[in-house]
Amino acid sequence: MRSRIYSTIINIAFLVILAGIFYLQVLRWPLYHTLAKNNHIRLIPFPGLRGTIYDRNGLAMVDNRLSFDVVIIPQEVENTDKTYDRLSQALGISRAKIESIIRKESSAPFAPITISGDVDKDLAFSLEEQKQRLPGVLVLPRTIRWYIYGERASHVIGYLGLINKKELDDLEDYGYSVSDLVGRSGVEKAYDKYLKGEDGGMQLEVDASGRLVRILGSKNQKKGRDITLTLDAKLQAYAADCLEGQRASAVFMDPRNGEILAMASSPSFDPNIFIEPGKNDAAVGYIKSSARPMLNRAINGQYPPGSIFKVVLAFAALDTNKATVHTTYVCPGRYYLGKAEFDCWKLEGHGPQDMRDAITHSCNVYFYNLGRKLGPDTISEYAQKVGLNKPTGIDIGGESGGLIPNPAWKKARRGQSWYEGETVNYSIGQGDVLVTPLQMTEVASVLAMGGAAPRPHVIKKIGDTTVNVPKPRMVPISKETAATIRSAMVNAVSSDTGTGQRARIEGLKIAAKTGTAQAPNGDPHAWFMGFAPADDPKVAFVVMVEHGGHGGVAAADIAGKILRFAKDNTEILK
């Protein structure tokens, strides 16, 4: 009996052991197989650098720079107390924090743990000098993306972020991997596949102490392709500085070929924040801010155009022969439609105005008359002819298309009929009409070039290959019509009664149109659109200041400053 119990216990024990082995080796094999592999195979990555981004003159705007990470191999630390205290002192991190990082991050024995990323260069060198006294502490160099112009070119250039799960699924075949940074906006996003370097690496077999046993394989890294932008870095930086402190945007474009010379949007963000370790709070701050610094107002800001829309009406009226240059209306300062009263901005009235006068003085009453004569369908037809109501097709993508309303649109969208009063508002760029600053830059180009609307773009070259620019779209505007509007716009700046005179610059003939668009809350938006030199246009521009008050002031001042800078400090106007 007792021996029977004894042998039963033995049998059960052997069965349990057999089951245990079966569980480990057969059922859990996949897990332990992976663990064993991770144990002895180390991958030393050689990250492929992203391509450098240059401005049109070959100045580097985005580059890669060396940064230094302070890492620790806890198993090699000899005097824990001394080492942690010294590190805490040097890095300004509390000892408790260091210990918690080590606890959290330790994965395999002898795997280095990053205590502090991208430390000051002097600190890195001083730690490196104390290497002998602090075994287990290492300073590892690493290259990181460096946005030289920081906040001043961030909307065009964009920023980088860690690749997400879905993108990885889509891009894995193209050589992307889990820890890759990918472009999140601007050039970094649109040209990511060119800029992206090819990662290399070495596969090593190590023993339990992390010592190299043999190299299993290696692959060299490759730098991504360099990109040359159409931007002029100096002009870009200056334009960004001029906008600082306001919610505004500015676009300067070469009307002959669509090269964007400067595109600034304010408030802005610093793309360096997104790649610097431990700056998450700042990045989240950008995204949460009500001022929306991440928004590129030049291509995504949609606003009523106000008076700068009047050039579209002038084009429509002249082209349809509903008016001539000499068509004259008398402006008494107000306009009646039935019992409704519509004011001119100059309440005492402009008196008799022909078309040139009306553009120069931005007379509302003149365009109320013209607009009613044309009707909303014609206005919207010509607005679309000059390129409004759809994105311009700029190569950084993600731009907004604006809105050009007409009676059919209103019926379909709101189920309401068009009111005649809306036509009156429409005539001076108010009501439902929305445009982006870039779209209006495109309109300025059409006027500047007498009909040729180039495709706006920011990329000049990828590597040594010049990027093909599509032929300009032709807007059917007659030479005479374009010349009429142009001369009126020149007067707007040069005449002492012109609305844009504050942008006047000695030795540069500027054609421009101001705009003041009623904004729902607060001061009206200020617009200034134009091109220069008027007779041989080399730059078309739009400056837009949200709630900037009267267009003649806020936007014209900024545009004038930037143009003066362009004339004095760059090759653009030469």
Binding site: I10, G20, N39
Partner: protein, 366 residues
């Protein structure tokens, strides 16, 4: 019944064959486990193990010829001498891996504690055989208890918790088989369990850690839990077929500490897979089964308790060792019979086979 007729008063060749196969497997595993050391320094541990095996065979043969009854007659003296060595080892013992377990004579070193397992069995068998039915009295349990506790404390002091603990099941099995009252055994076990929490305070720091990490190995993955995690990874990653001889990465790249001694089974698991492990386990099962059959069919109380004692030592080492290597039991540090590298234990184990064969051989004389 068939079994009895076939092996009547004879020799169990099957038992010897099984042991030979296990020892041979062990030599190959030790070769692989110490291969890196061999490449570096030319020390061939499997050759040394083979030498020990030969000594073991000689001792086994000698014991077989002498006969267990004659040894039992001297049981107390041999045991006493052995305990003396245990005392000696605490004073003049050789310090290795932080423990004082070895006595060195010239170039020859041995662990007296390994021999104690057997000398204790002989002494206890003599006592149980002499006292016969008297064992039913509670007073009769005092002397066996003292005989166990003295070497246990001395071995525990070395320190060698695993070997010390082996005495517990051996003592109880032999008392049980000799006919001690269950009631008194239960009281003994009960009071032992009641003392267990106090034992905690006598444990060394590393021993406490080992018990803690058994409950949760991830408590200290790079410290006390490291060995058991690496051991499980080694065995688990072996899969069904194993990675092949000399090809286990966990073993060859040194992720496993003590992989040629206490953790040798993880090398078997990693390099020979589930098939290798299962075959080895089956051989062990047959070994214990054959030992048990000899014990069960022996009517002589001396021989019977002696055989049960030996079988218990084997079974304990096999079950606890493999159990701990697989993470089923806490790490107590006892070697795997016939496989782990270590001369003293191999000699003792093989000698025990000689005694078992002798018991089987003498059985029908009575």
């Amino acid at each position: 019944m068939k079994y009895d007729i076939r092996s009547k008063g004879e020799f169990d060749y099957g038992l010897v064959l099984i042991v030979a196969v296990i020892v041979l497997m062990g030599l190959f595993v030790i070769y692989s486990a110490s291969y890196q050391k061999y490449v570096l320094s030319g020390t061939n541990l499997s050759l040394r193990q083979l030498q020990s095996a030969v000594i073991g065979i000689i001792v086994a043969f000698a014991l077989f010829r002498i006969g267990y009854q004659r040894i039992i007659d001297f049981g107390y003296y041999i045991f006493g001498l052995n305990v003396l060595f245990l005392v000696l080892v605490l004073f003049v013992g050789d310090m290795r891996y932080g423990a004082r377990r070895w006595i060195e004579i010239g170039s020859f070193a041995f662990q007296p504690s390994e021999f104690t397992k057997v000398t204790f069995i002989f002494a206890l068998a003599k006592y149980l055989g002499d006292i016969k039915e008297g064992i039913e009295r509670p007073k009769a349990l005092v002397w066996p208890f003292v005989m166990a506790i003295v070497p246990m404390l001395l071995i525990f002091k070395e320190p060698d918790l695993g070997t010390a603990l082996v005495f517990v099941p051996v003592l109880f099995t032999m008392l049980l088989i000799a006919g001690a009252r269950l009631k008194y055994l239960m009281i003994l076990i009960g009071s032992g369990l009641a003392c267990a929490p106090f034992l905690w305070f006598f444990l060394k720091e590393y021993q406490r850690n080992r018990l803690m990490v058994f409950i949760n190995p991830n408590l200290d993955p790079l410290g006390a839990g490291y060995t058991i995690i690496q051991s499980k990874i080694a065995i688990g990653s072996g899969g069904i077929l194993g990675k092949g001889w000399l090809a286990g990465t966990q073993n060859q790249l040194n992720f496993l500490p003590e992989h040629h001694t206490d953790f040798i089974f993880s090398v078997v698991g990693e390099e020979w897979g589930f098939i290798g492990s299962a075959v080895l386990l089956f051989l062990f099962y047959r070994l214990v089964g054959k030992g048990l059959r000899i014990a069960e069919t022996t009517s002589d109380i001396y021989g019977k308790t002696l055989a049960y004692g030996i079988v218990t030592v084997f079974a304990m080492h096999i079950i606890v060792n493999i159990g701990m290597v697989c993470g089923l039991m806490p790490v107590v540090g006892i070697p795997l019979t016939f496989v782990s590298y270590g001369g003293s234990f191999l000699i003792t184990s093989i000698a025990c086979i000689g005694i078992l064969e002798n018991i089987k051989n003498k059985r029908k004389v009575f």
